[in-house]
Symmetry: C2
């Protein structure tokens, strides 16, 4: 029942010898969701001991090369490894041409179909779901069309307390009502509160990916209360004017978003290549939001599965 973020790349536009371009894999109960696809992502997936063939779905934030150029090698390798299942790729509209150009030049012999789903959103919209997970896209504020993604487990059906069944003499329909999280309203006017008779079996977990973006007021509301927030922090605090000019965020702005959103934990990335040592980024961010970590290639961040006692 894992919910684990794998950091594959923390570079911004220019990679360095140690920092790969943007890419992360969210492992939700064994299904792997790749977010952004910087050059070298296929090697980073291997280094992280993840399986390329288990990549389920890809979400691309925007079509700058440092978030995209790894798609070519990844798709080719999937083909060589024998993938036959369609691969669903959520990305802005212009990705359609990039993908069809690629397939025209390099797609000979592919035995699977990469399927582009156009992302378009002016506020958070659900673009993908499984039985237990849903993914929302929301617009970010960058130089070109860019989306963030919110991954959250669906609210599970509630468990009805065994002692409550006898105590309230619950019928089958009433148990169904409680499982859906609702109160029971009986014909005689009595109300059985959900909180008295049922409980959530576990806490649904959530992760939001915000990058690349300049800060804007709505964002913290859109990622409110997530367990883990990735927010780009390209520049240190004192480079705010450069951040503004390039539609990026500073350490301060990323940490402020995390604080305003009341998230549990913040992980930073997309560091400017001007700064080979970014340890001072952490100090700047922790001043605002203490639960910050600096993302690093190879890092895994597990969001624990918390089951509730009955």
């Amino acid at each position: 029942m894992n919910f684990t973020l794998n950091i594959l790349g923390t570079a911004s536009a220019l990679p360095t010898v140690n920092r790969y371009p943007s890419a992360q894999v969210l492992d939700v109960r064994g299904r792997l969701f790749l977010i952004d696809c910087g050059e070298g992502v296929q090697m980073q997936i291997r280094r992280q001991r993840l399986s390329i063939l288990k990549i389920d779905t890809i979400f691309i934030t925007h079509l700058h090369g440092d978030h995209t150029f790894g798609i070519y090698g990844l798709l080719s390798t999937m083909s060589m490894l024998g993938r036959t299942a369609p691969l669903h790729i959520y990305a802005p509209e212009a990705f359609g041409k990039i993908l069809s150009d690629f397939m025209a030049s390099f797609g000979d012999g592919f035995r699977f179909e990469p399927v582009h789903h156009t992302v378009s959103a002016r506020e958070p919209v659900k673009i993908f779901e499984t039985r237990s997970l849903e993914v929302l896209a929301f617009p970010l504020r960058h130089r070109i069309e860019t989306y963030g993604y919110l991954f959250r487990e669906k609210t599970p059906m509630q468990n009805v307390r065994k002692d409550a069944i006898a105590r309230f003499g619950l019928g089958l329909a009433e148990i169904g009502t409680l499982k859906r999280g609702e109160d029971v309203h009986r014909e005689d006017g009595t109300v059985i509160l959900n909180s008295e008779a049922a409980y959530k079996p576990y806490e649904p977990r959530s992760f939001a990916y915000c990058g690349d973006t300049a800060p804007f007021p709505e964002l913290s509301g859109w990622v409110k209360g997530v367990d883990l927030l990735y927010h780009e922090a390209t520049f240190p605090r004192e480079y705010e004017s450069l951040a503004r000019a390039t539609f990026h965020s500073t350490t301060l702005q990323a940490a402020t978003c995390a604080k305003d959103a009341g998230v549990r934990k913040l992980v930073a990335g997309h560091y400017s290549s001007r700064f080979p040592d970014i340890s001072f980024y952490l100090d700047e961010m922790k001043e605002i939001f203490p639960e910050t970590v600096l993302g690093k290639e190879g890092m895994k961040i597990e969001i624990p599965f918390v089951s509730n006692p009955c």
Copy 2:
């Protein structure tokens, strides 16, 4: 006056955690020639402490992804680093569409022009030259159109021995004749042999890049006597049938080409991902051609400048 080969990638189709896709940089007296352009090449160039902005010209053997996918990130990074000089890329015809597709999707803001020169050759033909170097392309035998490249320093003008000027009473025209490497034929019938009066100031150096290819008889003649031969050795000796089916070479075939060509040194690469440890490749190759090294990421092979004493 260096002539140094830098190995950036030795993987075949599937990269591994340690092996990057095909790419090498030949540094000829400070001008950097990139041969093949596998994914991650821009990071490998940095790791090798070479300058991305000093890449002078690119030669691509063929349009399989493991020799090509690094071009996207490399060109983008060159643009971000401020390149303005045109970048000349020698590659098979189909590269034209790949490049124009790329520029259409990602070329906004480029301040330099990547220029594609179509390579087409049925036997060795000169495709590029500088004052001191020439590059020949020759066809290889692979699943798609593929070319090898031979880099060789031009034969330098000869030096005329000082003592010979007095001894033979050489005139200016005669000195010119000797400098061009010719004998002097005087009107009185006497002949001044070039070898008696002049000498090459240094030995011109040469490197040939042969991959990907199945073995074929003409190849050793085309790379005859080079100082350094890169020849792909995808498979070990006993995988000859797989090599044949995929138009690749075995260790034995690569070493035999080096032996037949009488080269000074052979460097292998493009190893199958089936073999994480390829040390046994070396044993197999050295049996046929002792002056073999296994190429490895980060390796530099210097061909020394040998000046002749007068």
